[in-house]
Assembly symmetry: none
DNA sequence: GTGGTCTAGACCACT
DNA sequence: GTGGTCTAGACCACG
């Protein structure tokens, strides 16, 4: 069963998008793998304190991307092969790293300064 | 006149928020300073391919934060003192860089991988 | 449910203002009372042939005046006490009737002519 | 020369409309007659404290209705015959009286009460 | 030309 | 179904 303990909801876009992103990050990290079960819509909506429709929409999008499978009356589960994992991972990395690069360039700092800043933040979160 | 050449629109939240963020990043970078003129609503909306009202909303928010001033019939311009610049810069670093580092960590990649990825994207965007 | 059957849209100012005025007149008349439900944004917008956002703006203004209350997912309803009703009624009489009488006087007609004209229009609208 | 001393600007619609209405009311009252001269755009804009373009728009609308005539380099003046005056007067009366009737009906008072209210306001403004 | 406002349509989250 | 928000286009008054 996929855990949503580390899920933190912010205001960066629609809630269903944040859920989709959370799942994808877990896949990229290897924490979510082929065959893993997803919580039921009802359970997850109670856990996150959001409307069941919102969970439904997130699952629907993942289904459209063929990342999960849902069957009536049965639990939804993750369906992934090697290539799919790689694709998800690369898409995420490009997006996130691209965001950093844009931000840093707009703030007018050099690559070296950016790397230094990221390294510092990385380690400060370590403790 | 403030340049929007480096502005890149993505799907990270409302367009007006992206514009606000772009301005603030420019302020943090020192590229935008006290007294600088903003492009008019029409000009910028044509340049970015969005509705003039979207620009208006971004400018309105910046005005509410007392970062710019608008007068009917006259150009909007930036109004900043030293302290305000510092505040803007700190808010940006807290809100953005931290979130991005967290995303990388959630995806389970190492600092070295992250730095390599960022360097690659940095240079590929250079061209 | 508050009825909008007698609502007549003219070109006297913004549509949302006309809606606000209509509600206030109903309150002054006692036809709209504490606890009454308002039609939903969609229903009323279809009935009046305007955009749902226009209705939204009218309701928002009434909410700012603490005349109605809105909660996401639930119907909006009127919240009034005796004093509030009196205030609304007095504002209406001051703002409207006086202006109309002035208009008549500016046009240089006598009270008798005005009364005759009003009586005729009153009955012609009766049908 | 038509006097604008009694002109009072409120927020009931666009300024140019208020100017047009003021002229028409004067015509209906007989205070403005065929051949009367209008103030120049520059003078009136200074007197009312509004932009010359706004005056220009009001004059343009009156010209379109063939109520005034403008010639380059010469003063604008009113051009009216008996029938035109009658038409203007009737349109205004219908509009104003119609507004009263709507307001009163919506406020749920009877014709007798409405007449009483109007009579009282009429006389109270007399003093 | 400038900024300010009104109306419109689509999308999101919630009961 | 409900209300809330974002984007869009047109109009108004001003320098």
């Amino acid at each position: 069963m996929i855990s949503f303990e580390q899920f933190i909801m912010d205001d960066s876009g629609p809630i269903y998008s944040q859920i989709v992103r959370y799942i994808k990050r877990g896949i990229a990290a290897g924490a979510i793998q082929d065959g893993d079960e997803l919580p039921s819509r009802r359970m997850l909506s109670a856990l996150l304190g959001v409307n069941p429709n919102t969970i439904q929409k997130a699952y629907r999008l993942l289904e459209d991307e063929e990342i999960i499978q849902s069957h009536t009356g049965a639990k939804s589960c993750v369906v992934l092969d090697e290539r799919r994992v790689e694709t998800v991972r690369n898409q995420l990395l490009e997006n996130e790293a691209g965001a950093i690069v844009n931000a840093m360039k707009q703030m007018g700092i050099s690559l070296e300064e950016a790397v230094a800043l990221i390294s510092r933040l990385w380690n400060s979160g370590e403790q």
